[in-house]
Amino acid sequence: MEREEKSGESEKDSQKEAEKEESRKIVLPGDYIADKSGRKVWGGAYFDGEKVFSKVLGIPRVGEDDISVIPLSGNYMPRINDRIVGVISSVEISGWMVDINSPYPAFLPLNDAVDEFVDTERTDISKFFDIGDAIFCKISKVTKDKTVRVSMRSLGARKLYGGIIVKMTPSKVPRLIGRGGSMINMIKSRSDCIIYTGRNGVVWLRGENKAKAIEAILKIEEGSHISGLTEKIEKLLGKDIKDSGESEKKSVE
């Protein structure tokens, strides 16, 4: 990929600034975003000759090396290395089919799920995962024709016992997580829940105050475009939990 030499900086800087300014806007399918100038075009963007357009309703990202559009709606499309919450939909001979909240099902091979040696002739592998079990896993492979493979060989991958599942729009998941995990950590600490957030829009949670946590998640889903959302959620989760936490502590004392 060619990149232009960094000459005539001030001019280019102002151009970049303008592009950055532009990137705050919302684009619709067919909207012109920027000139390609040797940059990589991916995500919700496409190019026609030298010009880059949007494919979807979303927010454009114009970077130094790449141009993309973050969609604001749409179903989950599996991407490699995404960490997701899936539900086992069927048990096969040497693996499992996993529902990943996408039009495409995923396959979890036995050797990517279990560490010990398993003799498939003699073992019923449903003892590891059975239909309906929720797992937190990683997408390990996506082929061109969207055959998806998931793996449990990743940090934090595990079977999720009990708990309940909440679904939200996949494109709003980053909003739920917040910058550096600020939002989700707040929900976790204030509701005293264990929460696993899948990139595919499936959220698994378990804990005492899960009703509060679900309320917060649904609120984020509903108002993901409102600024100052963190404060609103803070208010919603509110003092009462803190108070109840304190009173609990007191009672323990």
Binding site: K55, L57, G74, P103, I177
Partner: protein, 250 residues
Amino acid sequence: MVMAKTDEKLIVKGKRKDGRKPEDLRPVKLELDVVKRADGSSQASFGNTVAVVAVYGPRKLYPRFLQESDTGILRCRYNMAPFSVDERKKPGPSRRSVEISKVTRLAFEPAVFLEDFPKVTIDVFVEIIAADGSTRVTGINAASVAMAAAGVPMRDLVSACSVGKVDGEYVVDLNGIEDNNSDADIAFAMMPNKDLITLLQMDGRLTKEELMKLLEMAGENCRKIYSMQREVIMKKYERVEAEDERGDVE
């Protein structure tokens, strides 16, 4: 609303039956999210013509033999409600609705990135709940907005309008009575940013010059409709704030 043939003059002193000038559109109303459980939905009304569109997908496609391993498919269904016309329409598909379903699909196929979705389908349901001419273009306009809202990747929005020749004059956005008594009428859809036509149907007789003139008018009005489609989607998301990074999971 009289749909039958009439001998009356439809354009008197440069004004049409409903008081419009020949080059005017009827009052347009577009609305988003009218079907709660759909991935994207909209309602469009052009005068008395009302279309409700629901878009589902991309979603799994069954029966499996319909699946294409290198591309997704688009399925459209155009249906008129029995109560949408003066005399009750027999429910269910007809020769006419099958044709319109097909041309609706063909109007969108060049716009949608179907190659991004191998083996799956995008389903578009167009229900005409009140019909007063130009139903197929109303359906296409609504479907375009609904698909954009559903997050379907497209090269451009599709905008459509009807034009025709009534009482020897060129008119835009024909209503029911004009449609039934026109010398010719054209259903037209295009991708306004790309300047590409995706639907062109004509009923009646026109000379080449007349046709070119009408196409020009159609293009002009499609751009007007495009800006309305834009506006309705933008209104919903105008305060969207960008989230900078894909935050860390867990």
